[in-house]
Symmetry: C2
Amino acid sequence: MTERITKAQGSGGAATSELIREVFADELSNEYLMEMEDAAAVPGEKRLAFTTDSFVVTPLFFRGGDIGRLAVAGTVNDLLCRGAEPKYLTAGFILEEGLPVEDLKKAVHSMGECAKEAGIKIVAGDTKVVEGNGGMYINTAGIGFIKEGEELSAKKILPKDTVLISGNIGDHHAAILSERLSIENEIQSDVAPLCVMARRLFEEGVEVHCMRDITRGGIATVLAELAAAADKTIFLREETVPASAPVRSLAGILGLDILTMGNEGKAVFFVPKEQEEKALSVIRSSPYGENACIAGTVTEEAPGRAWLKTGIGGTRRLSPVQGEGLPRIC
Amino acid sequence: MTERITKAQGSGGAATSELIREVFADELSNEYLMEMEDAAAVPGEKRLAFTTDSFVVTPLFFRGGDIGRLAVAGTVNDLLCRGAEPKYLTAGFILEEGLPVEDLKKAVHSMGECAKEAGIKIVAGDTKVVEGNGGMYINTAGIGFIKEGEELSAKKILPKDTVLISGNIGDHHAAILSERLSIENEIQSDVAPLCVMARRLFEEGVEVHCMRDITRGGIATVLAELAAAADKTIFLREETVPASAPVRSLAGILGLDILTMGNEGKAVFFVPKEQEEKALSVIRSSPYGENACIAGTVTEEAPGRAWLKTGIGGTRRLSPVQGEGLPRIC
């Protein structure tokens, strides 16, 4: 095989087959994928969650992760946010000519590792090659099974619910920005699948009303959207929002609002006030949840808006991120 | 909203919401999509087909179709090839800065129309914006329900099966090439969902063993791959392969082999010899099937290879397309 991706590998012919054999098959092998049909045939369930995300992050490799881990964890987390158990993924690769095949192999290896961690199988895929500068885009679509009574939705948020944040925010955003600006620091992306955390909450009997991963646009965007969807008012207490010292410091130097910084392994949970301590302890004892905090509350006022109670006693409205945000963060 | 796509529309914030509201919601609206959760929650079934395809065709609009119709029909046809009834789609858009919003609207409109024709619902989506020259990539992933006894696979091909081709080949390839070379002719892409044709074969009691859509790489690639997967020998009779006069003429002038030309609304079916006439008549009476032909046969010789019986009495091996083929045909 060539060292760099060529148009021939997007032909659907001999060179595509070689690429599938030598790059994808080994890393992602499972009984469904290896049938090599036009579509995978898989066991189903009565109620399904179904979602998709495309990943265009740049750089492709960054401290704490890469586009491959991101592409699996991102879609897995979206399935979890519907209360589903993630089961199957598809992967669509759009490769730019000139991409080193080694980079593709590394990304595909990360996908395989992350899929194993998340207990999900990549059952079908597709590869296209376009002109460009050696970049790579990955789309994943995922199916999860929803058990009776476990379906989650913004509409299930209730007045008096407690808002929990599963850990330090801003890590992914800060890691990507640090790579782009060649800033040396210890910050690592938080990209991770939150399967164990989500599952354990159900298993421990926590009545989760809503879960949302805090991605592009940050916690401000997520809470503003959830408040509107639920038609409730959400208050976030600024001093309880968890973030690491290096991320706070970077945000301070660059003038960034950590509330609009993106994450790839953090979620916000809405649970009944009576269960807040139990939920906190379950999340803190789960992988990726050690810095979880109780960070806010819900009231029944409409129209649904999200507010920040600032450290100095003020209140300001939380809005979805305006303008570009950080382009190509995921 | 701006007239051209900007980075802000990929932020996941306010501008993304506006784009979703003004471009996607109207054209694709259904009860699942409009819940606007991280994942759609949909009714499932015991056995599922699951597949994905990314579409990078250039130009975005061509005679007979556009990238939107292609993105829906392509994935729908892959589901049909597994014997499934297409049910749900996701759509992931990667938009290049500068893309006219009107072009996006036209493509999304085509997706909505094609989804209606195919009886499939687009239940979840995602939008990213990257640098570039105003181009657009669309990924679709699809779920279909497989009824008991209707699962199709290359492995079900049997010796003595008849090979049917559902209509004229080469149309999509010739249409794309004509656009690129500014050749004026009457050729239109054949891009179409083959739901009615596939469903009717089952309903009429035709025992379909295998169905495969004839896309990138053409009938030569498809038959070579199927012969290998089934470990049977497939013979194709050159003089019975259907193609229109303008496509044959274009292929002749440009020195193209119509057997390696791509299609987006044609399939090859394998059925028991006893049912070949019935299958032919069902296909011919279905939308997009009027030019169907009986075109070949299967023998049990291994290793699985595909052969062409030429018009002058010779035999040559059919191979998957070598080299680039026609880049970005789909």
